[in-house]
């Protein structure tokens, strides 16, 4: 049952970063890698630079960068940081367990 749901679910992420810093790049790269590994073909990922789009950060009340928000499926989940620990990131974002795919 759980497998069935995960197979038809598509994921949507928005990642907030500050400018073109190393930390921003690392976080985006880590999220990208994770999604490709585990959600290939069924995810969307949008990068928001808060320096350019502060109003989006305002809407979501983002304080720290980088912050990833899982917008779909509900519920919303947030992970703050450069996502250097991929396993912890995957668990925190509620990604399907790669072993069961």
């Amino acid at each position: 049952m759980a497998r069935l749901v995960s197979e038809i679910t598509s994921y949507s992420f928005r990642i907030y970063v500050t400018g073109e810093t190393t930390r921003s790049w690392q976080a985006v790269a880590n999220l990208h890698r994770l999604c490709e590994d585990q959600l290939a073909g069924r995810y969307e990922m949008e990068v928001v630079d808060v320096v350019e789009r502060p109003e989006l950060a305002e809407q979501e009340r983002i304080i720290a960068t980088p912050t990833v928000v899982r917008q779909a499926p509900p519920p919303t989940r947030r992970v703050v940081g450069d996502l250097s620990d991929l396993r912890l990131t995957a668990v925190s974002l509620g990604l399907p367990d790669p072993g069961s795919a």
Partner: protein, 509 residues
């Protein structure tokens, strides 16, 4: 040092009394930390700093709120006349909402910074051209993130960024105790230059709010704690007790105390900007003197306000009519206002504000308070002293002649906490005493002090009848009246004393 002091420009906050205390305001373009315990008024100060900027100086402001939501803040301060929603529409106010929403749990994975927060603040400041910024409270951020060491490092960046925005800012931080230590997370480290402490302390069972400026970037400011009140209409109001500038332009104009003989005793009346202090036991005639004083003003065509903290209106009017004063008619003439209040209806700070508001509205030339001792019930000696110092300084500046009465604790003799504390502030001190003479209780009046006047040094007997107070002859045959234990002088002593007095009079000529 001097160069540095000159380099600090100040921005007027517009918060009543605060700028006098800070000798001009907060350092312009710099952050100031405001710390205090829970409920000490930090959020109000942060919000009011912005609101007064918009209202009085047309300076737009940004409020970064971590604890309360914008809608809660709009609602909470609406009663103070702060139309935040309206200002937002006009582009005079912007929120950066950093309050924690429900279901916004987050996990930390790896390193992060507060770049988003800085960008949002920067964006809001740019958008409305803000001159002022408040952050309430920065350290709330510590509760959102697990690694406080990392948060601390990142806050340095935030503080530095805010510093570079060119806005004058107020950053609140919580303290665990009113009197020791720094804020819980040591936010002073980030903004070490300017620190203001708000306190809400219990002192002899009375709650007292104070504000203290710990340091202001090497700029001059008043030191020590100052009382403040949270006024339902004006918001946070620092009571300028003892910091009202003393303008040393002493008036040389004399006005009547309300009784011709008493005027003579005081060397020709009271100076117009003077403070007179009447001390006596209950029933010696303090309220009577206050009546004389008020009536003299009304007769001279002046406006006068009488605060009675001891008697109800009915009692006051009945007693006055027994001395021949028609207070009712005086009030109807529009020149006299009588305010009867129980001291307990408000805190001392609030009474101060009420009195000032009354003065601002009515613009009297005279003011009488009957009596200060009743106010002791709601205050500490220190608080009452501050109250009188502040009020006297204010009245002097406005050239309002004032008369305060105070009750002595014992029927005979003198001395009360009130007197010991504040008699030094008075220009004129009038003592009223009971004197026991051969089984009779009589009354005595003496002018103990009359600054700048050659006053009468004798203790004179006075009577009270349907026309008020009548001063008669000195008690030459008694000694020890002031101490409350008069003794009859022998004929020989009396002769000796009389000779001495005559000699002194001759020498004086």
């Amino acid at each position: 040092m001097t160069d540095r002091m000159e380099a600090v420009a100040k921005l007027r906050t517009g918060i009543s009394g605060f700028d006098e205390m800070a000798l001009g305001g907060l350092p312009e373009g710099r952050p100031t930390i405001v710390t205090g315990t829970t409920g000490s008024g930090k959020t109000l100060l942060a919000v009011q700093f912005l609101a007064e900027g918009v209202r009085q100086f047309d300076q737009p402001g940004v409020l970064v709120t971590f604890e309360e939501t914008p809608s809660a803040i709009r609602r909470n301060v609406a009663s103070l006349g702060f139309d935040i929603a309206g200002w937002e529409e006009m582009g005079k106010w912007a929120f950066v909402d950093a309050s924690r929403g429900e279901s916004e749990e987050q996990v930390e994975v790896g390193a992060y910074d507060f770049g988003a927060l800085v960008s949002r603040i920067d964006h809001a400041v740019e958008r409305i051209g803000a001159k002022r910024l408040s952050i309430d409270s920065l350290e709330a951020i510590f509760s959102r993130f697990a690694d406080s060491g990392s948060v601390r490092r990142q806050l340095f960046e935030v503080a530095a960024a805010v510093n570079n925005m060119g806005v004058t800012s107020v950053i609140t931080a919580e303290r665990a105790h009113d009197h020791d230590g720094i804020s819980r997370f040591g936010v002073e480290e980030f903004v070490a230059d300017n620190v203001v402490i708000l306190r809400n302390v219990l002192e002899q069972e009375k709650r007292r709010r104070t504000v203290e400026i710990l340091k202001l970037r090497g700029a001059p400011h008043r030191s020590g704690e100052f009382s403040f009140a949270i006024d339902p209409e004006a918001g946070l109001t620092v009571i300028p007790f003892s910091l009202v500038e003393l303008q040393q332009v002493a008036s040389s104009i004399r006005v009547s105390a309300g009784n011709a003989e008493l005027d003579l005793m005081c060397g020709g009346g009271l100076y117009r900007d003077s403070v007179t202090f009447v001390s006596g036991a209950t029933g010696t005639g303090k309220t009577l003197l206050a009546n004389h004083f008020a009536a003299a003003g009304v007769t001279a065509g002046e406006r006068c306000v009488l605060f009675s903290f001891e008697e109800s209106r009915d009692q006051l009017f009945r007693n006055a009519s027994s001395w021949g004063f028609d207070l009712d008619a005086m009030e109807r003439s529009g020149r006299l206002q009588i305010v009867c209040d129980y001291p307990e209806v408000a805190s001392l700070d609030d009474h101060f504000i009420l009195i000032r508001q009354r003065i601002d509205a009515f613009k009297p030339s005279r003011l009488a308070i009957d009596n200060l001792s009743a106010l002791e019930r709601i205050s500490t000696p220190r608080g009452l002293r501050d109250f009188v110092v502040g009020l006297a300084a204010f009245l002097r500046r406005e050239e309002i002649t004032c008369l305060f009465t105070s009750a002595t604790a014992t029927l005979s003799g003198g001395g009360s906490a009130t007197e010991a504390n504040i008699s030094s502030l008075a220009d004129t001190i009038i003592l009223l005493r009971y004197v026991e003479v051969a089984g009779d209780v009589r009354r005595a009046v003496a002018v103990l002090k009359a600054r700048g006047s050659a006053h009468d040094h004798r203790i004179l007997e006075f009577r009270i009848d349907g026309d008020g107070m009548h001063i008669g002859q000195p008690f030459r045959h008694l000694a020890g009246i002031l101490s409350g234990t008069p003794t009859l002088l022998s004929a020989a002593d009396l002769a000796q004393v009389t000779r001495t007095l005559v000699l002194e009079d001759e020498e004086a000529r």
